[in-house]
């Protein structure tokens, strides 16, 4: 990947020898497939972050509340009923989520609410539907990792809380969750990294128009969607569009790697060890 984007091994020029790093990260126009080519990755980055943010806002609260329920409230029977459902949810292919977003969430949930009720203009492809399904997709991950963290908090801490007259709510929110913060934050970071790298749901539901917008009802393009789009057409190997694939892929790789490393570092740095 380095060889195609940063320097060239095989003759010809590498991507960053033809397009300056400054243009790549500074320009707000992305149009590699038009005659007037521009290579500013910011619209793609913006789309990716928009979808990941919506996903995080949906998936993280659902995941953490679900984890609290499973570890603090649920009886073993409910746990053993719910867990397989979550595992199935985690195992559903992302194409299926994309189909669900395009055919059901947009026409039956987003359209009636935002267009029918509030009068906004909703595109057939929009970032909101993609973000929502990616959010659902990361729930099992957040839920199981946070639940592990919550369960690792020793019983004695909870009992100390009750002994001081706290309610269950106080024990959960003021004692157990703070004690498990490191694990919970790590699960959030991993989930966001997953949302950034998510491909097929976003390709299907969020559209293919690289524009800089924060309006979740508009069609956008993410980095992953662009990569799929290029590889679907027949772009000759060695052309600048083909090399832009590697440049975008490299950016994506480093973003997710940074999140993963941060998550691991956070885990080891802030973990509280109980006996």
């Amino acid at each position: 990947m380095f060889s195609e984007s940063v320097f060239s091994l095989t003759g010809g020029k590498a991507f960053f020898q033809e397009v300056s790093v400054w243009e790549f990260f500074g320009s707000t126009k992305w149009s590699p497939q038009f005659a007037d080519q521009h290579f500013g990755v910011l619209p793609l980055l913006c789309g990716t972050i928009l979808v990941a943010a919506i996903a995080a806002l949906t998936g993280m609260p659902l995941g953490i509340l679900g984890a609290i329920y499973l570890s603090e409230y649920a009886t073993p029977r409910i746990r053993s009923t719910v867990k397989p459902f979550l595992e199935v949810l985690a195992g559903i292919p992302t194409v299926v989520y994309g189909y669900f977003a395009l055919e059901f969430i947009t026409p039956y949930l987003i359209r009636p609410f935002f267009q029918g009720l509030l009068g906004f203009d909703v595109d057939g492809f929009n970032a909101l539907s993609a973000g929502l399904v990616v959010g659902i997709m990361i729930v099992p991950m957040v839920c199981s990792l946070s639940e592990d963290a919550l369960r690792a908090v020793p019983r004695s801490l909870r009992e100390a809380g009750y002994a001081l007259g706290s309610t269950k709510y106080d024990v959960c929110v003021r004692i157990v969750v703070p004690a498990a913060t490191s694990g919970i934050v790590a699960s959030f970071l991993l989930a966001i990294s997953r949302a950034i790298g998510e491909t097929m749901a976003v390709v299907i539901a969020a559209g293919q128009s690289p524009v800089m917008t924060l309006n979740p009802l508009k069609s956008i393009q993410t980095m992953t969607a662009f990569m799929v789009n290029i590889s679907l057409g027949d772009t000759p190997a060695g052309s600048i569009e083909y090399k832009s694939l590697y440049a975008v892929g490299l950016t994506l790789f480093f973003m997710t790697l940074a999140m993963n490393v941060l998550s691991q570092w956070w885990m080891s740095r802030f973990r509280e060890v109980y006996q």
């Binding site: 990947m1 095989t10 003759g11 659902l62 995941g63 509340l65 679900g66 609290i68 329920y69 409230y73 649920a74 009886t75 029977r77 409910i78 719910v82 397989p84 459902f85 199935v88 195992g91 559903i92 292919p93 992302t94 194409v95 299926v96 994309g98 189909y99 669900f100 659902i136 729930v139 839920c143 706290s166 309610t167 269950k168 709510y169 106080d170 959960c172 929110v173 991993l190 990294s193 997953r194 950034i196 790298g197 097929m200 299907i204 990569m227 799929v228 590889s231 679907l232 190997a237 694939l245 590697y246 892929g249 994506l252 790789f253 997710t256 790697l257 999140m259 993963n260 490393v261 691991q264």
Partner: protein, 355 residues
């Protein structure tokens, strides 16, 4: 579902300094929080059910025997079938298992049983979890470069030919097919897809197998070694049999992930409308009639189920969305079966083995 009983402690007569008002507010807060948490988990389950029901509803009337036994059709949605995808997935997954399982389990055994605790092995362990977090589409680019194009080294236009004038196109020229049996570079074929998916699932298999091995108490190892068994005998006859359920569960989950993976194979350039099976082997009788297809199949172009679904979703004809739904139902049925199998294995063996 039953309400989880609130702890008795909380109801006990208050010797605490909380005043009456604060206690009532605390109770309301308490109940609200419980219901919010409870709602969160059931919302997730409900979404899953809605998804399954709505997709199945769209598939009704389109999912029949001809859908499973026909090849794809670009022109008429009613005739479109999934046979090429099902057979393509079969080939890719079998090859993926062949590549990934021995390497993955071997690596896990090395890391858990043999590897010393030095900086290199710590670095490898750290990288494994990083690799598991790399987006699948990045594996797609890797596969495209390494397996499909082989860095552009081979073939008449490759840089080896340009530098040395020596054209290298493959191994094993076959008169029968008038082509090389192992072409170089591989191109957009089954084996490139299988190798890419192997890389993708390797970290998953290694991590799952490591956990299975770690769960085996060291008393078992010590007992075996104390009886005079060699390290290899201990691993082969004591540790592996005990770890098999855990390893199997990991492998099944990894395989079901590989079956559903679309993005890396799209990057490799797996085809969209495909009207043949790899090696032209459509049925068992085909295999009997021309078994040489078995050699050809790994180097044939292909499609897989999720790519067919993706392709149908993209079509502009309205009916294709029902075809896609039918495809999704087939795919989900296979995945649910695999998931069920994994849960079954885990439950069965977790009852028998307690240390």
């Amino acid at each position: 579902m039953t309400d989880a009983p609130p702890p008795a402690v909380q109801e006990s007569p208050a010797t605490s300094p909380v005043n009456r008002l604060g206690k009532e507010a605390g109770k309301a807060e308490n109940r609200l929080f419980f219901w919010t948490c409870r709602a969160a988990i059931w919302v997730s389950v409900a979404v899953l059910l809605v998804l399954l029901i709505s997709v199945t509803k769209n598939a009704v009337g389109w999912l029949d025997w001809q859908f499973l036994s026909n090849f794809d059709s670009a022109r008429s949605p009613a005739k479109a079938g999934m046979l090429s995808g099902i057979l393509g997935t079969g080939w890719v997954i079998i090859l993926t298992i062949l590549f990934a399982v021995p390497v993955g389990v071997g690596a896990a055994i090395y890391l858990e049983e043999y590897a010393a605790d030095n900086w290199l092995n710590r670095f490898i362990r750290l990288n494994l979890s990083n690799l598991a977090g790399v987006p699948s589409i990045v594996y797609g680019i890797l596969g495209l470069t390494v397996f499909v194009r082989m860095f552009g080294a081979f073939g008449p236009q490759g840089w080896i030919a340009q530098w040395t004038g020596w054209v290298f196109e493959g191994f094993f020229w076959s008169e029968h097919f008038q082509t090389y049996l192992i072409p170089l570079p591989f191109g957009r074929v089954v084996i490139s897809g299988a190798l890419t998916l192997s890389l993708l699932v390797l970290p998953v298999i290694i991590i799952a197998s490591q956990e299975a091995l770690r769960a085996i108490p060291s008393s078992l190892r010590h007992a075996s070694l104390a009886l005079g068994a060699t390290k290899w005998q201990t691993i082969r006859f004591q540790i592996l049999p005990a770890a098999v359920p855990g390893i199997m569960t990991g492998i099944i989950l990894a395989v079901s992930r590989a079956i559903g993976e679309t993005a890396p194979l799209v990057m490799l350039g797996a085809m969209t409308f495909v009207y043949f099976a790899p090696g032209n082997l459509d049925s068992v009788s085909d295999v009997m009639q021309h078994p040489e297809g078995l050699i050809k199949a790994p180097f044939d172009t292909f499609t897989v189920m999720p790519i067919q679904i993706f392709n149908w979703v993209r079509q502009s004809k309205e009916e294709f969305k029902y075809v896609a739904a039918a495809g999704i139902v087939v795919l989900l049925a296979i995945l649910l079966l695999l998931n069920g199998l994994a849960i079954l294995i885990r439950n069965r063996y977790s009852k028998h083995m307690r240390w």
